[in-house]
Symmetry: C2
Subunit: 138 residues, 2 copies
């Protein structure tokens, strides 16, 4: 889909920003697993390749979902952190997880968050958002 800067549909707007097959994986890692470094995203089970990772990180920064925080001397300190716009995707991520939990027979219920999503979604959301107190307070 070629990007439309103007769409009257909220769904198409959303898809234009993170509707490719990789952006949500990165956002999952940021929001749920509190990842922040390039090397951490690379280490995910999904084996994203380096060129796609850097392209997606750039487009998410441009879309205002992530902020790139560069280290003073060392590139290894560069971090990617979510904006409020990304934090507001948490309900979307949760809804998708509920659906996937219902229909994916291979879901690893050993992943920490899975049980809690079902039993205590609100508490889970609160705890995850605490990782970003600096963002939400500003």
């Amino acid at each position: 889909m070629k990007k439309r800067t103007f769409t009257v549909c909220p769904i198409v707007y959303a898809l234009d920003i993170w509707g490719d097959p990789w952006s949500l994986v990165i956002l999952r890692d940021v929001l749920i697993h509190n990842k922040r470094y390039y090397r951490e995203f690379l280490a995910s089970r999904e084996n994203i390749s380096t060129n796609i990772l850097s392209a997606r990180l750039l487009s998410l920064v441009e879309a205002g979902l992530l902020v790139k925080i560069e280290g003073e001397t060392n590139r290894a300190q560069t971090m990617y952190r979510p904006t409020q716009k990304a934090l507001d995707l948490l309900p979307v991520v949760f809804a998708i997880m509920h659906w996937g939990l219902k229909y994916n027979p291979n879901t690893d219920m050993g992943i920490p968050i899975m049980q809690e999503l079902r039993t205590n979604e609100k508490g889970l959301a609160q705890r995850l958002l605490q990782n970003f107190d600096d963002i939400t307070s500003e």
Copy 2:
């Protein structure tokens, strides 16, 4: 992303099924706007091209989200209807719409459902699901 038949992550499972830029547009039309005919999907504002539409419809049928109901004599009677698996995506679609509503300044609030999504989401869901009583009752 090449399809993984085995993924332990519910989000990746979901993305493998409808994580391309078009499937959710079709599902939006089915679930929200109660569309069912090829010509109706083609008529959407997003101008999906015919080859992509038929490819997506096929993959959604294969994934068990849609059912293709062919007419007896006339192809123009062919319908695509959602399964329960697709109906269960309604919360995902709603969550995405909430997010898009918040951040897309060009959202057309004249689209019937938009107001109601904010003021009476539960009632809206119930009403939309009534379009599929035949599916949910079986």
